[in-house]
């Protein structure tokens, strides 16, 4: 089987967490212990998750590489495969191929402050890095997380948001779009770029990691530029349609850059070199 790149690991769904309407997190454990022992990944990498008989779907690994023995993925029910996944119960077996792609250079960030900015369902690719950094917290200066969603119910990882809020070594700002607040909402109200501008985090010795819907990203980059962030210090992930995950099926490229192999993690400086095709 070693020469069959398309053979997935068999994974048991250990735990299903309901995150938001249509959004679930699976905790997956390797059925074969040897697979578990050999498996390693780094923050930012992704995989192909499958329901046998339905197909494969691409998403990031949402858990941190510092947490051993399992991986997690968070997905929204939107297409054929994510609907089938969503119907899977705890104990069911699914397929997983990976890890693929490049990684956030977490080790290179040691000694710096980290600013995480996420919108909606794009917190999962960032959660991996957040926990990776928090599990080696002493290596970083300030850690700031700005997270927004359309409405209160659309915020994912609600329990973890509470954890981060309680921590003294994390500054968490949550926000919902105007009209998305609930009567007891205590966070900010406003679009993510506006809230970033208002919070005005320092760009001194700071890395910004930005993941979100295209419109949020588009309006957040100029705010970061105004705050003094260099393009080299702003990181994001691209998510193009993929089938293989390793540079052969031919659809995720943006110009000559393959999101599956050269990405999914890019700096804004790298994005500016790419043609407008993503």
């Amino acid at each position: 089987m070693t020469d069959n790149l398309y053979m997935p690991y068999l994974m048991r769904i250990e735990k299903v967490t309901f995150e938001a309407p249509g959004v679930k997190t699976f905790m997956l454990k390797f059925i074969n212990e040897e697979d578990q022992d050999k498996f390693t990944f780094r923050a930012g990498q992704f995989g192909e998750y499958s329901v046998f008989g339905v197909g494969e779907s691409t998403f990031c690994i949402a858990s941190s590489p510092t947490r051993k023995g399992y991986i997690e993925c968070t997905f929204r029910q939107t297409g054929k495969v994510t609907n089938a996944l969503s119907n899977c119960e705890e104990g069911s077996v699914v397929g997983f191929r990976g890890p693929y792609g490049n990684t956030f250079p977490v080790d290179e960030w040691k000694g710096k402050s980290l600013l995480f900015i996420a919108g909606g369902i794009a917190l999962p690719p960032m959660r991996c890095v957040i926990w990776n950094a928090l599990d080696m917290r002493e290596n970083f200066k300030d850690v700031t997380i700005i997270y927004g969603a359309r409405s209160v119910k659309d915020l994912v990882y609600k329990h973890e948001l509470e954890d981060w809020r309680r921590r003294k070594d994390v500054k968490l700002i949550t926000t919902v779009d105007p009209g998305g607040e609930s009567p007891d909402w205590k966070g900010e109200i406003g679009f993510v770029p506006t809230i970033v501008e208002k919070a005005a985090p320092s760009s001194v010795n700071t890395i910004a990691i930005v993941c979100g819907p295209p419109v949020m990203i588009k309006y957040t980059f100029p705010v970061l530029a105004k705050l003094g962030f260099l393009n080299e210090n702003i990181f994001t992930t691209l998510e193009n349609r993929m089938k293989c995950g390793f540079g052969k099926c031919g659809r995720c490229n943006v110009g000559k850059v393959y999101v599956c192999k050269d990405g999914p993690v890019f700096t804004l400086a790298q994005l500016k070199e790419l043609p407008d095709e993503y």
Binding site: F52, V93, P214, Y278
Partner: protein, 341 residues
Amino acid sequence: MNIDKHIIRKDSLEKLFDILRQNSKTIYAPVSRNSKVIFRKTDNFAEIAAGCIQTDISSKEIAFPRTERLLDYSRSADGISVKGFDSGDIPEIVLWGVRPCDTVGIGELSAIFNWDYKDGIYNNRLSKVTVLGFSCSKADEYCFCTSVGGNPGNTAGSDILFTRLGDNGDFLAEVLTEKGIAVFALATGFFEKAGEIKKEEFLAEVPVRFNLEVLSNNLEKFFESGQWVDLSLKCLGCGVCAYVCPACACFDIQDEAHGRKGSRFRCWDSCAFSLFTLHTSGHNPRDVQSQRWRQRIMHKFSYMPDRLSVYGCTGCGRCSRACPADMNILESLISIQEANV
């Protein structure tokens, strides 16, 4: 290794075919059926369409089938068992009568399937194939192998290359690889040592239509050009260009379930389809046909040379012959090469 040159008489070619068959080789050769010439499994030398310029579909499916089973699964009360494709099931194949524009395509496909991750299924299939190439003594106005570094007698990718020496029907046989030697060894008696032969005199004339280097340099600056719209106006997005191409490797992965059992397949796909890059959200990075035609040309003539050091086109001209809207890739390539960028 040194190329070993021999002569084989016309009637000995059939004997060679029979000997291969007697040695339990599965032979695929150009066979005409329903007015289409395609590489098919054959035991009958007489049915080989030897005179055709080329087959309607390239020979790539011998190593890269249009539908490839990747794994089988079956569910039971105890869970699920998954069995990967077993390379041991691949038969030894002799590919007979392949034109140089297809044998060159094998190298281009191999570059894709071995870029960093080695695709074992493809490599195992290819390792079981012996390629008996046949040079071209005829060409048509769609052929442009000489514009992309090839030629009608190109040995690249063949294990033995046969070149017909004029009308008397004798063939020059260039034994090029270990696999070629293995075939030669089965039928040594039919081969005679070749004297001085000017192979080029017996090859089709294929004029050079554009300058490849200028084309590649222009493409570096052509991405934003408004010309892509004009060049692709006729494109219907049917994808036939990719299906007939010897160097197109893009694929889809699909599951098929039958009750508690099923399989996962890799299937040919095409960058011409609107669904190819469509996100679940509805966003499509290549939303219109001109972006897809640009991808096809850029991939073959800019991205592949840049990333894999090979072009993704062999100049076979099949895409233009097959196009229902009469698109001709040569027209695009020539006009990009002539553009002032």
